[in-house]
Amino acid sequence: MIATPRLRFTGAFAALMLFALVMPAHAQTARELALIQRLGKQAEEAKTNTKSLAETLAAAKTIDEYMAAVWKDKKATATKGINDQVFLRRIYLDIAGRIPTLEETLAFYRNASPNKRSKLIDDLLNSEAYTSNMFNFWADLMRVQSNMNGNGNEYARWIKNVVRTNMPYDKMVYELVTAEGYTWENGAAGFYLRDSGMPLDNMSTTVQIFLGTSIVCAQCHDHPFDNWSQFEFYEMAAYTYGQNTRFRPKNVEEASAMLSGEEEKDALNDLTRVLGYKTTWTDSRDIALPENYKYDDAKPGQMVKPYTIFGDQAKFGNGVTRREAYAKWMTSPSNPRFTMVIANRMWNKVFNRGLFEPIDEIMDDTEPLDRGLLDYLSHKMVQYDYDIKQFLRVLYNTQAYQREITVATLDPDEPYLFTGSVLRRMSAEQIWDSMVAMSIPDPDHHFRNGAPRQRYDYSDVELLQHMEPKELAAYAKEYSKGRVAKAEIQTKIRDLRKANMNGNKNAIMALQKQMDAIKMPNIRDFVSTAKSAEKEKDDYEMTKNQQLMADNAEMLKDTKVDQSKYNGFVDMYRASELTSPEGPTHMLRLFGQSDRDVVNNANREPNLVQVLAMFNGGLFDTITSDKSLMMQNVEKVSDPSEKVQVIFLSMLNRKASSREMKLVEPFARKNDYKSIVWAIMNMREFSFVQ
């Protein structure tokens, strides 16, 4: 590798290089002002209420004008606008994460209002389906795993509440980066617990996902093709190096001192293992350069102080902790990358390509397709106070979004001009969730009773956390007593077996009974009644944002839906309710669900196992069972051609053409509607998003 000159001011230098990409803080671009003038009265409203429909449509129009200018400049032609039929399916898949049900499909077609598209966009953005869909998005980005250390289900729940309550993005990031506590106190604490024991990896990922900057190379050596040096990496890591993710609670420590035997201490450790993962901070901890550090600007093992890689310095001290300073610096509108990364990430979500790519690896020579448009989007993101829902609302209302598929093949090297939509196979979650929507009524409110499968049982964590040391010790003692008694009987059984492999059956049975009769203690018998009645929640203080979110989540309990209507559909939950991620043989994984080991690791690659699953998989039985929503709807109408239309409207969200009617007629005549369902499931039109 060529030795790079070690300039101490590379950070500032990089920031200068970036200057061109920094979004301007001015209120409105000239193009937008011109438009607002043309819109006249409507514009007045837009000015006063930054999140009104008028403002939304004005912003969408502005984006379309930017796009039109790009096309004119590059002599490109855009595709036509889509019809209602394509719009309906596309918008459901994009916002709700699934296809619409028969009822939803018919409601849209029956609506004659001229602004029914905008209305549908709003309805979907405010639905629980949006929560489910966006959870998948964030879970892929933040690698949320049910089985991670410290209870991933609570982390997942926190993210769902962020989406449900539409917590501003900058607040969300701030909460994550400064998080502390147990996940059941503060789900955001999962952000550090996810990378327990890997603070450097955690920093690389944080900078990648929130600042679109890849510094992972600099973790071990100077970045070969970018500005970042290993020294700078350590300076950045120093901000959050004070994180601790392992924890020994005081009550456990004290209880342990009250116990004598190793057996009892083991029992205590086993019982309280779930309290061992908690995010806490030793704020002033510096970080040392690695022992194999090989550059001249510093010595191996030398301690490093926090210093940011670009933008302003994050000042700490005077009551501001390092992580708070770091989080403020990161989420500030004046951070040169924070805003444009989220603006581009959301653009990428809606248009399936970024305005600059790769979206997580900005370099000095990164050129957005249109700088003015990127600036404008960044400006809107700030103006909307990082309101993701409002931002998406604008993008979905653009003409650019509502265009037909670009039919031409795209060379991956050629910049994509967004002249039309990108044809793509549904994501694994979209396919699965669409199947769910065909099978059960009200698919977005089927909530899992109890958390997805995990390695440890977290059901008593709050009791354990608040027990007095002597209560814990008494509990551990009893638990140990039971275990030892069981082990003694086990040894007897083993000896009997050894003495005579086949005989001694009755004696062994008797012993087994004895063993089963030994009762293991119940934690509730050891908690004093006064306390268990209403225990104050730790000394942990919720921040304002968390409090607000908790309140809002409580208010938004349209999640309180009668679950009895789902009887008989045990496994039909939306992907967001299942284990994150599912096991390797689950249909979600076969279709490319991310393993959530690394950032955004989902794929839409076709493979033969998927085809076989669609041909012969068991899910087909659920979809076509008598109880399935779709088949019940088929039953409700008597005319065979109407039955066919119910299937087409439920699966493709359009009516069958006369040609198609003719094709399915022989099947309908035989009352074989299952074959029709099978055929549609195996159409590419079904699994692709147009």
Binding site: D201, R494, T585, L612, W678, A679, I680
Partner: protein
């Protein structure tokens, strides 16, 4: 990164877990000559590999690293074999220890399941920023394996895995193992749920209904890819090769020999796959996380496991596959020599055991030693990377540096050193 992958890999994009357009035309991308050169370069004899993964952290003291007389041994008893001693409960497996080299000096510092599992499977420490491929992927990648060279079967299969690394890491997805949850179930979803006639009618209907869409997007690669995959799927469903996945095609006595339990059936399926040019099969056996009741657990699991292993080695001998089939067994870490209050053992990464066997390995002796109580490595420490490098060595895979699509350098077995003395 995905785009870069696409660029690198243009022509082979549509080769997935099973099936390839190439198969129809008999195209072989890398001739087997190259395979031979690779093997000649390092002298590895093994052409294929069964990787047995003991998920949860297998106790070393109660399996392959026995300490008769030590206070940490508990009620476990050793048996003499024609090779290294093993737990008496393994039964007939002792008769085949002449093929086996237990490694009793495995060591790592990673004590959590996920991290240690990842490390053992990939030789690299787990990162939040990249995913590393496992041995099966490396084997296919470095030998230039392509779908359809020999038949329609995948090159890499993972049986019973919930814990295995079921991805191809940064490598092309075609190298990813095909996951099979239940070895007795055959290839998942390969049997039509209706009669052949009805199936064909349905397929015809799907094709007719979809005609407009196909024409409209005829130049879209993904749409086109599915067309090919449909053909492959139908071909596979009707092919003889599908039977390879059906362990019930074996004689009853062979099924009995392997044992009618998940692990035994996994081994039997692995052998059937390897016989048919599948290169790498991992079989996972869970339930080793014995924080409590470790000895009871051994009593129930080892006799069955020993019988299945004996069945496998007997079969490999009889089929003359023992010399070019490498069988390895490994796990994420060992378990504490100290027996805890629940009669269990806890996580112990400092010293643990695995084995390598067959495939040119000089069996009948153990490699490496832990101390008298089984706490620390006393002789010849073997890191997970060394273990991987040893497997690579046996398979004749060169530890040359290759670049991932993002430009970062990687090699099979990381910087591990192979144990060459046991070959």
């Amino acid at each position: 990164m995905k785009d870069q992958l696409k660029k690198l890999d243009g022509p082979s994009r549509r080769d997935f877990m099973v099936g390839a357009a190439g198969a129809a035309f008999g195209v072989s991308v890398l001739p087997s000559l190259m395979e031979q050169q690779l093997f000649a370069a390092t002298g590895g004899k093994a052409k294929r590999c069964i990787w047995l993964y003991m998920s949860g952290g297998m106790t070393h003291l109660d399996t392959f690293d026995l300490k008769p007389g030590a206070s940490t041994q508990g009620p476990t008893e050793a048996q003499k074999t024609n090779g290294a001693p093993i737990n008496k409960l393994f039964g007939d497996f002792g008769k085949y220890m002449k093929h086996v080299v237990p490694i009793n000096s495995l060591t790592t510092t990673t004590g959590d399941h996920g991290g240690a599992n990842y490390l053992m499977h990939t030789a690299y420490p787990q990162r939040g920023t990249i995913k590393h491929p496992g041995m099966g992927c490396w084997l296919l990648y470095l030998t230039g394996w392509e779908m359809g060279q020999k038949n329609m079967l995948p090159g890499n299969v993972l049986i019973g895995g919930g814990s295995g690394q079921a991805t191809s890491g940064w490598m092309d997805i075609k190298y990813a193992p095909l996951p099979i949850g239940n070895p007795a179930g055959g290839l998942p979803n390969s049997k039509p749920r209706v009669s052949k006639e009805q199936f064909d009618d349905r397929l015809q209907l799907a094709s007719d209904l979809d005609a407009e869409f196909r024409v409209k997007y005829k130049n879209k690669k993904d749409v086109h890819a599915y067309t090919g995959l449909y053909q492959d799927a139908i071909r596979l469903m009707n092919s003889k090769e599908l039977e390879v996945f059906d362990i019930f095609k074996e004689k009853e006595e062979v099924q009995m020999q392997y044992g009618k339990n998940g692990f035994g059936q996994g081994l039997l399926l692995a052998r059937r796959l390897l016989e048919n040019d599948v290169k790498f099969v991992e079989v996972d056996l869970g339930g080793w996380d014995n924080h409590a009741g470790v000895f009871d657990s051994m009593e129930t699991r080892l006799p069955a496991m020993g019988a299945s292993l004996a069945g496998l080695f007997k079969d490999l001998e009889e089929k003359n596959m023992i010399d070019d089939t490498l069988v390895v067994l490994t796990t994420e870490f060992g378990r504490t020599p100290r027996i805890n209050g629940g009669q269990g053992r806890d996580h112990h990464p400092a010293a643990f055991s695995g084995f390598v066997a067959g495939g040119g390995v000089r069996g009948g002796q153990a490699y490496g030693k832990s101390d008298s109580q089984g706490y620390r490595v006393a002789e010849n420490p073997v890191l997970p990377a060394d273990f991987n490098a040893t497997v690579a060595y046996a398979l004749g895979l060169p530890q040359k540096v290759v670049k991932a699509p993002n430009g970062r350098p990687f090699q099979v077995g990381f910087h591990g050193k192979p144990i060459t003395e046991i070959f």
